[in-house]
Symmetry: C2
Subunit: 359 residues, 2 copies
Amino acid sequence: MARTTPRGRTGAARAATVKDVADAAGVSIATVSRVVNGAPRVAEETKSKILKAVEALNYVPHTGARSLVTRRHDLIGVLLPDIHGEFFSEIVRGVDEAARRRGLHILVSNISGDANEDARVVAALRGRVGGLLIMAPDEGPDSLATRLPSDLPVVLMNTRGGGGRAALMIDNHAGALEAMAHLAAAGRRRAAHIAGPGRNIDASERLRGYRDGLAACFGGAAPMILQGDFCQTSGFEAGRAIAAMDPADRPDAVFAANDMMAVGCALALSEAGIRIPQDIALAGFDDIPLAGLVRPALTTVRLRMAEFGRRALARLVACMDDPDGACPEIEAMRPELVVRDSCGARSAPSGEEARPLAL
Amino acid sequence: MARTTPRGRTGAARAATVKDVADAAGVSIATVSRVVNGAPRVAEETKSKILKAVEALNYVPHTGARSLVTRRHDLIGVLLPDIHGEFFSEIVRGVDEAARRRGLHILVSNISGDANEDARVVAALRGRVGGLLIMAPDEGPDSLATRLPSDLPVVLMNTRGGGGRAALMIDNHAGALEAMAHLAAAGRRRAAHIAGPGRNIDASERLRGYRDGLAACFGGAAPMILQGDFCQTSGFEAGRAIAAMDPADRPDAVFAANDMMAVGCALALSEAGIRIPQDIALAGFDDIPLAGLVRPALTTVRLRMAEFGRRALARLVACMDDPDGACPEIEAMRPELVVRDSCGARSAPSGEEARPLAL
DNA sequence: GCAGTTTGTGTAAACGCTTACATTCCACGC
DNA sequence: GCGTGGAATGTAAGCGTTTACACAAACTGC
């Protein structure tokens, strides 16, 4: 097990303890503890004496000692995959905000997708955190989620399977469906899809949304799927493939499983002289900052990740407060369509769009 | 669930303790502790018996109890401002990676810039973390850094002042100087600067680099500074202002204090029919992902933020291990120039550039 | 064989905190 | 006067660890 290296000395001077405060205020440690924890039935006078001593000695309770006796932790573990950029910080911000409001702190760590290593990370967190927030969109059904310690409240974020755990999902299917409906409403007849990596739950749910959208809004047209991997290059290649098609077979709409691929696709199309949205309407997913900056501005589906983080934490706290409560429900957060210019169906510009930026 | 709990109580399963492991293995708790902590002089046979019991009981030491007696914490506080996106995740990833290698965990929190609120956050972290990593590029000299508890090892990241604290800086000045030298080497004569917000240390150091670059490489030409605020819109406005100038007075090079402003500026210039790099060479700072995607691809100065995070953590650990060691040195990390197309002085393409992407 | 060392293990005392229970004090009604 | 009850505070028992110290057994070298 984790062998601990001696670390983290807190400097020379011993920090003040309850005992020191009690002595300074001329009361017992129990009373100090009561004041520090806001317990009732302490005389005003005593309370202020103690608070003065706390201030003077710069006293801060030792959380280790506290959690030892209370048997609870005010730390939440947040495990996020190695996604880059925007999402990571957004989620962390949301979780942190919600945690802080409740007097909790968050312990952040990356998970790699390697089930063994991830299990080790989780193990290191037991005995330290009161609950776990885990996001692992690439997980197979048998990995991390099923190996979680049963005595630890966990909320899974956007993860496949879940094994009876509480989970908060992004409703990728609904978002994709909405994008497809939008393309259909813009008068398109034949929609292709640039798919993300298959083992990723976002990718596969968006693909499912595409298929269902085809059935629902495109009169059951045959699917036309180009495999991508969420990165821009793969979108570019998909775009080239589309450009190379016989114009008679060519789709008049493309729904990419994320914005990066949509941007790559847009580039390939415009290099081939295909106009967006006149010749081909294009929709993405995620609403990355770039989406509003490219020209034509990309119509996409927005995920509110900070909100997602906040809700996940709220869920987790609910589980922690009520350990026996049956809360392994799966809740979903619905993303929203952001209509810009790339589908040729622009509605009233939002505030963001009013800014004079483009590329 | 509670099957291995010795007390046999139904209800919430108590986590296994050293005592449980000791009983199961038929040894004393001291020996268990020794094995768990990798102490020497334990018979192989005993060790394996104990490890088996640890495994069977799914034992994890209670870190609170441990830190209570050892007087050390294996938690590091990481305080980051509300910067968005890329940087945040990069830094966290770097710090996490370096921390994990040392058996440490990181506690992440946002700081707002409001000195009182931030001080409260720091207070909540005392008695919980072994050290603090703080990044606050907007700090005034008298705020957070000076109010830090003196008994806590701290490494400041890219912060002004520092008040005798150890600090790890980004050498913005050197980076800016390098960008200026590059513009001069590309044959430019008259370089303008789009500045960032003045109270931000990155902005002011880059401005200083611009001025010194003017003196060193542009024969002491008069500065031409347009005030921006790091966001794209302000770069756009600066670009419009430049485009509106009498072509005789117009600069033939623009060094923007960050990439977002450079992109905004590029847009305004190209709207005005000014060509990049033929008419005006453009350089940015940060190397955001977008920088490689715009056309012409933006020459900029790259910050390796993950590396920055790793080094900051290493510094902090050094301070923690040697509390009396005088380590309040200020170390700087030098960014690197990334030459692309926007200065008209393209050198051999790097691997990244070989990708077929553009906008 | 015997002092001295080495090796493996156990005992028990903290660490700083919360909290059940005990105590004191005082006001009240009888 | 006494008993009663409530308010304010104190006493002390742990919470799960680590670790100094103690001890026993097994080796050394003579």
